[in-house]
Amino acid sequence: MVTRLDPKIFDATADVTWCAGCGDFAVLKALKLALADLAIEQHQALVVSGIGCGSKLPDYMTVNGYMTIHGRPLPVATGVKLANPQMHVVVVNGDGDSYGIGGNHFVQACRRNPDITQIVENNQIYGLTKGQYSPTSDKGSITTTSPDGSIELAFNPMAVALAGGATFIARAFAGEPKHLAQLIAAGIQHRGYALIDVLQPCVTFNRVNTYDWYRKRVYHLEDEDYDASDRDAAWARAHEWEERIPLGVLYRVGGLPTYEDQVRALQDGSPVSRLFDLAKSPRPQQYERLKEEFF
């Protein structure tokens, strides 16, 4: 039986510079709760982010953190997982970072199935740069860079993930932190790539998709007779948006090999495990040898 940790161990002292009421606060809290519920300690988790408001999240947690450049957390996370499969790797980034500039990496992660969890803080806007429309902004959105309304069809991450072969696809709402924490925990426990798209209001620059806007539309798949292993059903639900937005696990398939399982060079163990006997404390000379290889 796993003994739950105190989520407070993940608290950090850095000043949080998110706007008051930002949905990112709920993502931060839910991630701490999920790690605590799974009894994953600080040194056992790595949070990888890109660039954006939500990507400041690793600064606000006491956990291994790695802020990469815009759109690139997924390849970095994949590399970390290959080097050290025992690390719980969680990617946290926004809709612009993940579905815009990071879109290629997103598609590749879906089909490669690395054992990492990605939490996308989807606020349908570029917030840090003060209000440009993003890939998930609804068509017609009026923003600083679309004064006459966006002319682009909004990116559908649920459908793209499903078509790309993702093995765990879920959607959550920042206004429901308990449900969000449960989905993050389920994603971390899933063996393979897990996407959790979090509908997360930007209280400063997106005045359309507010907490109330989502409240009127979201519903839980688990309240209906929904089978998350049914790919056809998932495809249909992935296209629900305007009037009803499904929350929960949209699609899940287990038992498939991860990317790391199939890399032949890792058959004798990961690079980290070959350098260290992880069952014992690593000796200082092993650390020195590792550093020499990189510097």
Binding site: A20, G21, L33, G175, P177, V203, D212
Partner: protein, 143 residues
């Protein structure tokens, strides 16, 4: 107290130039309150409010979320007010186009809380404060 009196009081307390800001503030604060109060307290509050305001006492899920905190509460309120331009406090004033609505959102919450408190008995006020998230209870009691 009827609906117009309720809005008028909030408008005067907040110093809002127009009634629309008062209406938006009341709506957003009540929607946030509805997300956190236990059902029995919500029912008790509904009995004291003008009927026009009952439409805002609906929450996303049947039960309040135990992890709904003061930041989430503020999020509902901030969504309904114009962002306040101000010097960026985090960078020591280097960003001239920073926005910060937190202080104003708390002030507006307290305008609505003050009117709500005037409708409730002292015991009901204490009970309502007990149902609010940490931090929000203090805003309520100090309103």
């Amino acid at each position: 107290m009827n609906y117009q009196e309720f809005l008028g009081k909030v408008q005067r307390l907040g110093g809002f130039p127009g009634g629309e800001e008062a209406r938006a503030t009341v709506a957003n604060v009540l929607m946030a309150v509805a997300e956190v109060l236990p059902q029995d307290q919500l029912n008790a509050l509904a009995l004291k409010l003008p009927p026009e305001l009952l439409v805002y006492l609906r929450r996303t899920r049947p039960e309040p979320d135990p992890y709904f905190d003061s930041q989430l509460f503020l999020g509902w309120v901030v969504s309904g007010l114009d962002a306040t331009g101000a010097r960026d406090k985090s960078d020591g004033g280097l960003d001239l186009y920073a926005t910060y609505s937190g202080d104003e959102a708390i002030r507006r919450c307290q305008c609505v809380f003050a009117v709500l408190k005037s409708l409730l008995e002292p015991g009901e006020n204490r009970a309502m404060a007990g149902g609010l998230p940490d931090g929000v209870d203090a805003w309520f009691l100090q309103a």
